[in-house]
């Protein structure tokens, strides 16, 4: 092919999500009539999931679908982009934020600073907390040790919980022995894949962030080499991909819940209005915290604030 690309994503070979990224890769090949060939790199296949951002930036990988919390130290604005705790769960509102209210332009600049082209983002289902004991009211979080990195940890601390730093490979054992009382997962599908329901049965009903928005990024130099028609092809393929993510991830989220329920997962009781208010309050002051992380974070949060007035 004229252009040989490598595309790294977060998921292992053979997973449902992995297939969606494969579809994006295949689409780019088909829509470009084979002028761009895309080799898929699944999780652990050469580049670590934490390292996708850096690998696309350096040009080792041409294209990547990273998860912002994994490179929060390199680009803090990504944490606001993916969705701070307490954000909306409505795709329409989110897309409005990105395409009408200016987030898209801010993020284009934020990524450009790192030599990255920011393509159509896509929505993935939200973050939920799984606990060993049912959560009957928000007060039950008091003193619970919950594995929750970064922004999610701060949120849970606001609710009185003790966030714990744990590597993914130790979550299962730690839930099982009681090192931790609960854990967040990137989404419900992640909880299912990690088999965490075997050792902790209760899923809390309120998600940590309404929905997560993830980027597709391309190395600027590789992008510049493409003729305009091929740039259009890649952009069009990512737009198709965003739609597929939205429909498929909803479908899989439902399936993951059914799978986990078959293994004994239960929802914690419906939270009261007071609980919901406490939940929202715990997220509110994080906006200020994260606005301080950098100029782009600040701009993104300003748009959010203007929105919520």
């Amino acid at each position: 092919a004229e252009f040989n690309w490598r595309f790294a994503n977060l998921y292992s070979r053979g997973t449902a999500f992995g297939e969606v990224y494969q579809d994006l890769a295949d689409n780019i090949e088909t829509m470009s009539n084979g002028r761009i060939s895309v080799q898929m790199m699944y999780a652990g296949e050469g580049v670590s999931t934490n390292g996708i951002f850096g690998a696309v930036k350096s040009g080792l990988i041409t294209m990547g679908a990273p998860f912002q919390p994994m490179h929060a130290g390199e680009m803090p604005a990504g944490i606001v982009e993916v969705g701070l705790p307490g954000g909306t769960d409505k795709p329409a509102e989110l897309m409005d934020l990105f395409y009408e209210k200016g987030w898209g332009d801010i993020l284009k600049d934020a990524y450009a600073e790192h030599g990255l082209v920011w393509l159509d983002p896509y929505i993935q289902p939200p973050v939920y907390i799984l606990t060993k004991e049912p959560i009957n009211s928000v007060e039950d979080f008091e003193g619970l040790k919950i594995r929750a990195p970064g922004a999610y940890g701060k949120f849970l601390r606001n609710l009185g919980a003790s966030p714990v730093n744990l590597t993914w490979g130790e979550i299962y054992t730690s839930l099982s022995t009681g090192v931790i009382d609960g854990s967040i997962g990137s989404n419900l599908i992640d909880h299912r894949d990690g088999n965490h329901v075997e050792v902790a049965k209760y899923m809390y009903r309120l998600p940590l962030a309404g929905a997560q928005v993830l980027p597709v990024i391309v190395n600027q130099k590789a992008w510049n080499q493409l003729p305009d028609d091929l740039k259009a092809v890649v952009s069009a393929a990512t737009a198709v991909h965003a739609k597929e993510q939205l429909t498929k991830s909803r479908e899989w989220e439902a399936k993951a819940v059914a799978d986990m329920q078959a293994k004994g997962m239960q929802w914690s009781p419906e939270p009261s209005d007071a609980d919901k208010a406490a939940w929202k309050a715990a997220g509110a002051n994080l906006w200020e915290d994260y606005a301080k992380e950098g100029p782009y974070s600040k701009k993104l949060v300003e748009v959010l604030k203007a929105e919520s007035m």
Binding site: M75, G150, S162, V164, N165
Partner: protein, 178 residues
């Protein structure tokens, strides 16, 4: 010339040994940090935000910076099936070849380390955790670890080369030094 080479090798040996032994004192510190996190979480029910990254940093410092000292003590693992069967002279020749490869690797490591350090300073890179400690010192350390290894390898390379050419040891007391 011989004095100059000998001086270089002895100086490198001294620096590598000094730093290699210094980082060894981080081993008990590392254990203490991990144990204190267990204490903070289990007994006090207040997990720290810093122990996770701090323990990883300490681990990396010990492991990376100790590499050159391990090379000095010939502790790095090699497959010695053929190596031990050949003559001393051939063995030195083998070392000349393999150390070149290793030195090339270290040069690459240093080059990338410098590039990463530049990016890290430019964008104020940090760890992705809540504590978010800065990363610049880590890359300085990685560059130093690569440089130390490079120095150590070069000293051994020079001393091997010297004795292949002259037939004499560059540093006589090297064996009895332990």
């Amino acid at each position: 010339m011989t004095t100059l080479l000998r001086g270089y090798c002895l100086a490198v040996e001294f620096i590598v040994r000094f730093l290699g032994r210094s980082v060894a004192w981080l081993v008990p510190v590392l254990s203490l940090v991990v144990a204190s996190e267990v204490f903070a979480r289990y007994v006090l029910n207040r997990p720290t935000v810093w122990a996770y990254d701090l323990s990883l940093f300490l681990f990396a410092y010990i492991a990376a910076l100790g590499g050159a000292y391990a090379q000095q003590k010939q502790a790095h693992i090699n497959v010695d099936i053929l190596y031990l069967k050949v003559s001393e002279r051939t063995r030195r020749l083998f070392d000349l070849v393999t150390y070149l490869l290793a030195m090339y690797f270290m040069l690459v490591l240093i080059k990338i380390g410098v590039e990463q350090l530049e990016q890290t300073i430019k964008f104020n890179y940090r760890r992705q955790s809540e504590w978010a400690p800065p990363m610049h010192h880590f890359w300085v350390m990685m560059i130093s670890a690569g440089a130390l290894m490079l120095l150590q390898l070069s000293a051994q390379w020079i001393s091997n080369f010297y004795s292949l050419v002259t037939g004499n040891e560059l540093i006589e007391q090297q064996e009895s030094k332990e």
